[in-house]
C-alpha cells in the first residue's frame, strides 16, 4: 500500500473514531425532554400573540400538566385591569418575622419543594440599625427575638427595573399595572436579570421543579404560578392570578399581624395611598434610582 493511501485510510479511521466518540459523548441529550411541542418551540413572543393564541397555549399547558402530574389545573391569562397601578407596603414596626408570608408564597406559587423556594426572604436585623450587612436570613429560633426586628424582601416591581433592561430577548417586561413578569416559555436562562436585580428578587430553575400532584395549586396563570420549566427565571408577580381578579396576594392573606398593605396606587382612597401619605415611608436602596413599588414604613 502506498504511503498516500495509507495516510488517507488512517485519516478516515481517525475521523470515524472521532465522530463516533462525539456521538457517544453527546448521547445523553437524547434523554432530554424539554416537554415542549414543535408548536411551542416555534411560537412567537408573548406580545405578538393574539388572545386565541394565548388561550391555546394555556390549554396546551393544562394538557401537559395532566400528562406530567395527572391532575387537572386551570391556567388563566388574566390581563391588567385598566387604570390600576399596583403597589405594596410593609409595616416594619409590626412584622414579627414568622415567615408565614414566605411559606404562603411557596404553596401558592407552586415552588420547587426540595429547595423550599420562595420569592420572599425575611431578614432579622438588630434594633438600632437598618444595615442589611448585619442582617440574617437564616435565623432559626422563636420570633420575635429580643432586640431584633424583621424585614421581608421580595420583588419591588421597580418602575425603572434593571432586570427588564438587561434581558437580551425581552422575556421579562413591565405590565400596564406595574407588575414585572417573566415569560417562562421565552426565557433563555442567561441569568443576566438575576445579576442585575439589587433586591435578590429573582430565582432560577436550576432543575425541573419537584412538586407532588396533590400539593399543586390548580388555580394558575400563564405569567405567574404555573409549574415552571427547567432552566428559566421566575419571580414574584404580586400573585397576579389573584390580584388581577380583585383578590389579595397570598403573602398578605397569610400575614398574622397585618403588616402588609396592598392596593391600587392610582386610587386616592386606597389603603396603600393612605399609608404613603401618613406614615414614615422609605424604599430600599433609594440611591439606585430603581423606583420600586414596594414600600417599607414604621408606625412609630
Amino acid at each position: 500500500m502506498s504511503d498516500l493511501t495509507r495516510r488517507t485510510v488512517l485519516k478516515a479511521a481517525g475521523a470515524t473514531l472521532g465522530a463516533s466518540a462525539f456521538a457517544a459523548a453527546i448521547a445523553p441529550l437524547t434523554q432530554w425532554q424539554p416537554a415542549e411541542s414543535v408548536d411551542e418551540f416555534l411560537r412567537r413572543h408573548y406580545k405578538e400573540l393574539t388572545a386565541e393564541d394565548l388561550a391555546a397555549i394555556c390549554r396546551r399547558i393544562e394538557a401537559d400538566t395532566k400528562v406530567s402530574h395527572g391532575i387537572d389545573v386551570h391556567v388563566a391569562a388574566p390581563q391588567p385591569m385598566p387604570g390600576v397601578q399596583f403597589g405594596y407596603a410593609l409595616n416594619l414596626s409590626i412584622c414579627v418575622g414568622c415567615r408565614r408570608c414566605a411559606e404562603a408564597c411557596h404553596q401558592e406559587n407552586n415552588h420547587d419543594r426540595t429547595s423550599h423556594n420562595s420569592y420572599i426572604r425575611v431578614f432579622e436585623l438588630d434594633n438600632g440599625s437598618i444595615d442589611l450587612a448585619t442582617g440574617d436570613a437564616t435565623y432559626d429560633h422563636p420570633v420575635p427575638a429580643k432586640g431584633k426586628y424583621y424585614m421581608p424582601v421580595q420583588c419591588h416591581q421597580c418602575d425603572n427595573a434593571p432586570c427588564v433592561k438587561v434581558c437580551p430577548v425581552e422575556a421579562t417586561w413591565k405590565e400596564q399595572d406595574g407588575i414585572v413578569v417573566v415569560d417562562y416559555n421565552w426565557c433563555i436562562g442567561c441569568r443576566y436579570c438575576e445579576a442585575a436585580c439589587p433586591y435578590h428578587a429573582r430565582r432560577f430553575n436550576w432543575k425541573k421543579p419537584e412538586i407532588k400532584a396533590e400539593e399543586i395549586n390548580p388555580d394558575q396563570s400563564y405569567l405567574s404560578n404555573r409549574v415552571r420549566p427547567q432552566g428559566v427565571m421566575e419571580k414574584c408577580t404580586f400573585c397576579l392570578h389573584r390580584t388581577r381578579e380583585g383578590r389579595l396576594p397570598a403573602c398578605l392573606e397569610a400575614c398574622p399581624t397585618g403588616a402588609r398593605v396592598f392596593g391600587d396606587l392610582a386610587d386616592p382612597d386606597s389603603d396603600i395611598r393612605w399609608v404613603l401619605a401618613n406614615k414614615r415611608v422609605f424604599i430600599l436602596k433609594d440611591e439606585l434610582g430603581t423606583k420600586p413599588r414596594f414600600f417599607y414604613f414604621f408606625d412609630k
Partner: protein, 535 residues
C-alpha cells in the same frame, strides 16, 4: 490578440490544500490533536448531561448565579482583543516583520471568540431557545440590553477577522497581490472593534447599579489593560513554541515588540488594581465589602483569598521579569513569565472579578461559590476546542503564507517545481538559523540553497533564451542581484561577528518577499509569453 491569462487555482483545490495542511503532520501533531479531542469530548459529554439534569450540576445558585463559564468568557474576550497589539504595529506603523506574524494574532482572535461564544452558550439554562437572541427571528432587545451589544460586537469581531485572514490567505493562494481596498478598511475597523468588544463586556458588569463591586468606571480600562497583558503574553508563548517546532519561518522581532508591550501594560494593570483597592478600602464604601472578601475574607468566608493573592503574586513577579533586559535571551524564562501573568490575569479578571460581584449578595448574604467538576470539564473542553481550532488554522495559514502556492504557477511545470523547492529551502534556512543550529549544518543548508538558486536561474534563463523572450536581459539582471544578496548572507553566516538573527530577517523579509513578487510579476510574464501561440 486575445488576452492570455495564466490559470488561477479555484476554491475547491484551495479547500483540498487547506484540508491536507490541516490534517497532515508528525506524531507530535497527532498526539496533540488526540489529547485535545479527548478533553473536548469530555466537555461535550459533561455539557450534554448538564442540559438534561439542569444547571443544578454546577456550583452556582441564586446567590452566585454566574460562575466559571462567565469568568472564562470575560477573560477570553480580552485574549481576542489582544490581536490588536499586533495589528496596530503591522498596519498603522507598517512594521514589515509584524506584517507576516500578525496572522498568528488574528487567528488567535478567531479561536478566542469561539471560546467566548461557547462559554456563554453553556451558561444558558435553555440553549434550545438560542434563536430568541437572533436579530430578526427572535426578539433582540437592542439597544437597551448590553448583552445584545455583546452579541453584535463579538460576532462582528469574529466576522472581521475571518474576512481579513481568509482574504489574505486566499490571495496568497491565488498568487495575486491583495487589494488594499478589500482588506485595509476592515483592518482599521477591527482595531476599533477590538477595543469595543472588551469595553462592551466591561459594560455588562459596570452598568449594574446593584453590584457596587462592578459599578466602577475603571472597569473597562482595567479590562483593556489586563487584556493587553494576557493576550500578548499568550502570543509570545505561541510564537516561541512555533519557532521551537520549526514551523514558524518568520522573524523574532514580533516577540521583542510584544515583550515591550507587556512591559508597560503589566505595570498599568497593577497600577489600576492598586487604584481600585485604594479607592474602595480607604473610603470604606459599599463596594469595599466584596473587595475585602476577595482580599482578606469576610465573616469567616475566604474561598477566594488564596486565589487572589496568587494572582497578585504571579502578576507582580511577571511584571518584574518583563522589565529585566536579559529576559529576551532566556526563552524558557520568558515563557514562564508569560504563563505566570496569563494565569494571574485569568484569576484576577475571571474568578476574581465575576464571583466577588455576587459575594456578599445584593442583600448582603455571604454565600460562597466553588466550581463543580462538571463546570471544570465543560470549561476545559471549550478551551481544548479553541486550541483545536487555533492549531488547525495555524497549520493552514503558516505554510500558505511562507511557501509556494499553485497561484504562483508560471505555466511551466519544471519551473513551478523549482520555485516550490526554492521557497522550501529558503524557509528551511530561516528556521535553521533561528533555532540556532550548528555552523556545519547551517553551512550545508546554505550551500544547498545557493547551488539550487544558481541551477534554477540558469534553467530559467535558458528557457527564456530558447523561446526568444524579449525581457531576458532585464530578468537576468534581477537574478544576478538576488544571487549577490545571497552571497552576502553567506559571507555573513561564515563570519563570526555577524548578527545571525539579522541575517535570518534579511532572508525571509527581503529575499522571500523578493522571490514572491518576482514570480508574481516577472516570471508570470514570461509564462504568459510562452503560452502565446507561435506567430
Amino acid at each position: 490578440m486575445a488576452v492570455i491569462a495564466l490559470h488561477r487555482p479555484g476554491l475547491l483545490p484551495f479547500m483540498r490544500q487547506a484540508f491536507s495542511y490541516a490534517t497532515d503532520g508528525g506524531p507530535l501533531f497527532y498526539a496533540w490533536m488526540t489529547l485535545l479531542t479527548c478533553v473536548a469530548l469530555v466537555g461535550v459529554n459533561a455539557w450534554a448531561n448538564q442540559v438534561v439534569s439542569g444547571m443544578q450540576v454546577t456550583g452556582m445558585g441564586d446567590h452566585v448565579s454566574w460562575g466559571l463559564y462567565i469568568s472564562n468568557f470575560t477573560f477570553f474576550v480580552g485574549v481576542a482583543a489582544a490581536a490588536v497589539m499586533m495589528v496596530i504595529p503591522a498596519y498603522l506603523y507598517h512594521d514589515h516583520e509584524m506584517h507576516d506574524a500578525v496572522i498568528v494574532g488574528e487567528l488567535l482572535a478567531i479561536s478566542a471568540i469561539v471560546v467566548c461564544l461557547l462559554s456563554v452558550t453553556v451558561d444558558l439554562g435553555r440553549p434550545d431557545r438560542f434563536w430568541h437572541m437572533m436579530p430578526g427571528i427572535g426578539r433582540f432587545n437592542w439597544p437597551i440590553s448590553l448583552l445584545t451589544w455583546d452579541v453584535i460586537v463579538l460576532n462582528g469581531y469574529l466576522g472581521l477577522n475571518v474576512w481579513i485572514c481568509g482574504y489574505l490567505l486566499w490571495s496568497r493562494w491565488r498568487g495575486t497581490v491583495p487589494s488594499p481596498r478589500l482588506y485595509l478598511p476592515f483592518v482599521f475597523l477591527s482595531i476599533i472593534w477590538a477595543v469595543s468588544i472588551h469595553t462592551v463586556t466591561a459594560f455588562l458588569y459596570c452598568g449594574l447599579g446593584g453590584r457596587p463591586f462592578w459599578n466602577t468606571a475603571l472597569l473597562a480600562p482595567r479590562f483593556l489593560a489586563s487584556a493587553f497583558v494576557a493576550g500578548p503574553a499568550l502570543i509570545i508563548v505561541v510564537l516561541l513554541v512555533l519557532q521551537r517546532l520549526g514551523s514558524y519561518p518568520f522573524g523574532d522581532k514580533p516577540v521583542r515588540l510584544l515583550l515591550r508591550v507587556v512591559q508597560i501594560t503589566a505595570l498599568i494593570n497593577l497600577f489600576m488594581l492598586a487604584v481600585e483597592c485604594f479607592t474602595a478600602l480607604y473610603a470604606g464604601s459599599t463596594h469595599a465589602a466584596s473587595l475585602r472578601y476577595l482580599l482578606f475574607g469576610a465573616h469567616g468566608h475566604h474561598a477566594l483569598v488564596p486565589w487572589m493573592w496568587s494572582a497578585i503574586a504571579l502578576n507582580v513577579i511577571a511584571a518584574g521579569l518583563f522589565l529585566w533586559p536579559g529576559l529576551i535571551r532566556r526563552p524558557g524564562l520568558l515563557v514562564t513569565a508569560c504563563l505566570m501573568t496569563f494565569v494571574g490575569i485569568w484569576i484576577e479578571k475571571g474568578m476574581g472579578l465575576v464571583i466577588p460581584g455576587f459575594i456578599p449578595s445584593t442583600l448582603h448574604e455571604m454565600v460562597e461559590y466553588v466550581p463543580s467538576l462538571t463546570e471544570w470539564k465543560i470549561t476545559l473542553g471549550i478551551v481544548a476546542g479553541g486550541l483545536i481550532i487555533y492549531t488547525l488554522l495555524l497549520k493552514i495559514a503558516l505554510p500558505l503564507l511562507s511557501g509556494w502556492t499553485p497561484g504562483l504557477s508560471v505555466g511551466v511545470e519544471a519551473m513551478d517545481a523549482q520555485h516550490r523547492q526554492l521557497f522550501d529551502r529558503l524557509n528551511a534556512l530561516v528556521v535553521a538559523i533561528r533555532s540556532g543550529r550548528g555552523t556545519t549544518e547551517l553551512d550545508r543548508t546554505m550551500s544547498f540553497l545557493d547551488s539550487y538558486v544558481r541551477e534554477h536561474f540558469a534553467d530559467e534563463e535558458q528557457l527564456m533564451a530558447d523561446a526568444g523572450y524579449p525581457g531576458l536581459e532585464g530578468h537576468r539582471r534581477m537574478h544576478a542581484s538576488f544571487t549577490a544578496e545571497l552571497e552576502s548572507v553567506r559571507a555573513g553566516l561564515a563570519s563570526l561577528q555577524a548578527d545571525r538573527q539579522e541575517l535570518a530577517e534579511r532572508l525571509h523579509l527581503s529575499m522571500r518577499d523578493w522571490l514572491l513578487r518576482h514570480i508574481q510579476v516577472e516570471d508570470r510574464s514570461y509564462g504568459v509569453f510562452l503560452k502565446q501561440p507561435a506567430c
